[in-house]
């Protein structure tokens, strides 16, 4: 399942890149992209575990860029 999320206060392009790399490493995530330009994130992950994976994504992103909020 592929889903898109808006990101708030994503201020640094390097962080977007780091977030993308970190999300891709999460188990169950097939593909992910974080666009600094559109301030959007798209995640392709397992259907059944999507919510659990999303919780993990939020945690990972908080680590990289504490200011950035994922609007779910």
């Amino acid at each position: 399942m592929k889903k898109k999320f808006k990101l708030q206060d994503l201020d640094c392009a390097n962080c977007a890149q780091k977030m993308e790399d970190a999300i891709k490493k999460i188990d169950g995530v097939t593909d992910a992209s974080v666009s600094f330009m559109t301030q959007k994130m798209s995640i392709d992950a397992d259907d059944e575990r999507f919510e659990a994976i999303m919780d993990e994504v939020v945690k990972v992103c908080k680590k990289v860029e504490p200011d950035c909020v994922i609007l779910r």
Partner: protein, 666 residues
């Protein structure tokens, strides 16, 4: 400016003022007295330092707790503390202050460009006026409109969902979708696409798609996804950024320790190491390169060309061979009757006869004949009507009777002879309509017509009646398109077609006919090679041949109308689908989608791609050389921390401003 940015701005200004006061004060006598106490100076400078940079400190602490060692905030903080440690208080504050100013500028510039790109793609309808059964209308979210609902589009409103007009007519501005500035006329029965803007007529329409499947949503999705298909340049920057920060940081540590142990001059080498830390963020590149591509894609979409990814935009710039499909790409793809040669009867009679014979056939040629007969019939009907009004005698009714008799014509026998034509029996008369083979097969003497196109010979009761020529005509823009391609760096243009060789050659001749008059300076051929009588799989083989010919030194593009061309669109380095407004299959298969059917846009998008690539390369070279220069000067002790701040945020801002240029279409 956003509220957050404003807050930062005020903070920086306040810190700057305090810093200025302290600097002025430091030249006075009273200050010199106080400095005797060693604790005084660091504490005084700590005020503007913390005011300007407390968020950096907080973030650095947070991130270091998360194990993010190579975080830019942390490295900035270390640089600041380092400067403090070697008693360069004033410089420490200045670095933090200017770093913050730079960051603010940077976020402002990014926000601005993001907004201008968003405005360019602002084709999203905000609401739809849905009409209920009692005729009243209500504004709703386009997402909530079901297929088959009736919606009302008022003058000046954006078409929210793909729909068919029920009543009303208007001119539609499709410039947001196709880049075409001439409004299109639309009347009842026409399909209209979401994203276009209604002119001055009121339209009542029935929706044919849900909002999420409508043209506008498809386009937005495509453009948004485009930035996730990364170009080679972006991947390079991505890999570079991963290693750059750690390497520079390690370099800084070594620079601080190793020479100091030898020379014993700790303060000097720590100062030099601090310049390293300040330059350690690869931000200029990480922001400006994707932004350049994003702007390029935005610029292309503003002329009605969708590029499905940064990687495709990059590839478009390197196109050396362009293969064109003939029908619908260089030609209009509309078969029309272009010549009527009657033999012993009137033009209209011949056309009518042929139309009766071809009425039941679905062949495009048959359709062209019937369309031509319909227009000529309706013209004659109008003439009859005018005649009626004028004379008011019995003749008019007689004519009218004839027309109705015509419509009742019964076809008792209908045989389609594959590859030849049709044989019909109309009211006891045998009519033949088809090519020369058909005429020969029935032993009919006829006068061959040499004009190019599809020739249909007609015979009645074994007697030749005349011939009708049906042909496709070239698009007016095709010549310019080919000339421009040649001047944009394309070496070879090839025509690929399923048609016969002489037909393909005729099109090329037609294209080259007026070339001297229109483009006196043009030298060479418009179309270098012709490949005819191809089946779809042959087209793939042809494209592969050209890819092999270039051997990696350039890309091969294929431009077609998207129908039946999916395999070759996919196989070519760049598949360009044309006239794709509303065609999902073509949008799916192609890499570049031209919304209207103007082939001249191929060279336009190539120009945008080259410009984008040039800007991206400029940024990479500029940012890298300034950084390396300052790194070397810093290590040698010639660059101050100020220079380092410029190499970090200053370069980033300049690179961002440069990227913005990609948004403009020349």
């Amino acid at each position: 400016m956003s509220p957050k940015q404003k807050k930062t701005l005020y903070r920086i200004i306040t810190a700057g003022i305090i810093y200025g006061i302290i600097l002025v004060w430091s030249h006075m006598d009273s200050y010199a007295d106080l400095i005797e106490g060693r604790w005084f100076e660091p504490v005084v400078f700590l005020v503007p330092f913390l005011l300007a940079g407390y968020d950096i400190v907080l973030k650095a602490i947070k991130n270091i707790c998360h194990g993010q060692v190579f975080d830019e905030n942390f490295l900035m903080l270390v640089a600041g503390i380092g400067a403090y440690g070697i008693q360069e208080y004033s410089e420490a504050v200045a670095v933090i202050l200017f770093y913050q100013v730079g960051e603010l500028f940077q976020s402002y510039a990014v926000g601005k460009s993001r907004k201008s790109i968003a405005d360019m793609m602002d084709i999203c309808p905000e609401y739809a006026n849905i009409e209920s059964e009692d005729g009243s209308t209500e504004e709703v979210d386009p997402d909530d409109v079901e297929i088959g609902s009736t919606i009302v589009i008022k003058p000046g409103e954006r078409v929210p969902i793909d729909c068919v007009i029920l009543t009303g007519d208007s001119y539609l501005d499709t410039s947001a979708l196709t880049g075409e500035s001439v409004p299109r006329r639309a009347a009842a029965g026409d399909e209209i696409y979401s994203g276009s803007v209604n002119g001055n007529g009121l339209l009542r329409c029935r929706t044919t798609k849900a909002y999420e499947d409508s043209t506008v949503s498809k386009i937005l999705e495509l453009v948004e996804n485009a930035s996730s298909r990364k170009s080679k340049h972006e991947n390079f920057i991505h890999r570079f950024a991963k290693y750059y920060t750690p390497i520079v940081t390690i370099g800084a540590v070594l620079l601080a320790i190793v020479p100091s142990l030898i020379t014993g001059d700790w303060a000097e080498w720590i100062r030099r190491a601090c310049t390293f830390l300040v330059i350690s963020c690869p931000c200029a590149l990480v922001i400006s390169v994707p932004m350049g591509f994003f702007s390029g894609i935005g610029a292309a979409s503003s002329i009605g060309v969708l590029v499905k990814g940064s990687n495709h935009l990059e590839a478009v710039a390197g196109v050396k061979t362009v293969c064109f499909d003939k029908t619908g790409t260089l030609t209009k793809g509309e078969f029309k009757v272009n010549g009527i040669y009657p033999f012993g009867c009137s033009e209209q009679e011949l056309l009518k006869l042929a139309a009766v014979a071809e009425k039941n056939s679905t062949h495009p040629v048959a359709k062209a004949i019937c369309d031509a007969a319909d227009t000529s019939c309706s013209e004659s009907r109008e003439m009859t009507y005018a005649f009626n009004v004028e004379s008011r005698d019995g003749k008019g009714s007689k004519e009218g009777k004839e027309v109705s008799e015509n419509e009742k014509i019964s076809i008792s026998e209908y045989t389609e002879i594959p590859g030849q034509g049709v044989l019909v029996n109309v009211g006891g008369e045998t009519v033949l309509a088809g090519n020369d083979k058909l005429m020969n097969a029935y032993g009919i003497e006829f006068k061959p017509v040499s004009e190019l196109g599809t020739v249909v010979y007609v015979a009645k009761n074994g007697k030749y009646q005349g011939a009708i020529v049906i042909s496709d005509s070239i698009k007016a823009e095709s010549i310019d398109a080919l000339v421009n391609l040649k001047s944009t760096g394309v070496n070879k243009c090839v025509l690929l077609t399923g048609d016969k060789k002489n037909q393909a050659e005729a099109v090329v001749d037609e294209l080259s006919k007026d070339i001297k008059k229109k483009h006196p300076g043009f030298v060479g051929k418009l179309i270098d090679e012709i490949e005819s009588e191809l089946y779809p799989q042959d087209k793939v083989a042809c494209v592969e041949k050209y890819i092999g010919e270039l051997n990696g030194n350039g890309k091969v593009a294929f431009a077609g109308d998207g129908i039946n061309d999916s395999p070759v669109l996919t196989r070519a380095d760049i598949g360009i689908a044309m006239g794709s407004l509303g065609s999902d299959a073509a949008i799916e298969a192609a890499d570049v989608v031209i919304m209207d059917d103007n082939p001249a846009k191929i060279s336009a998008v190539m120009k945008i791609a080259s410009k984008t690539l040039r800007i991206v390369k400029e940024n990479i070279v500029f940012a890298l050389s300034v950084k390396f220069l300052v790194l070397i000067l810093g290590a040698l002790g010639f660059a101050s921390m100020w220079a380092a701040v410029f190499a970090d945020v200053g370069v980033a801002i300049l690179a961002i401003l440069n990227s913005m240029r990609a948004l403009k279409v020349d």
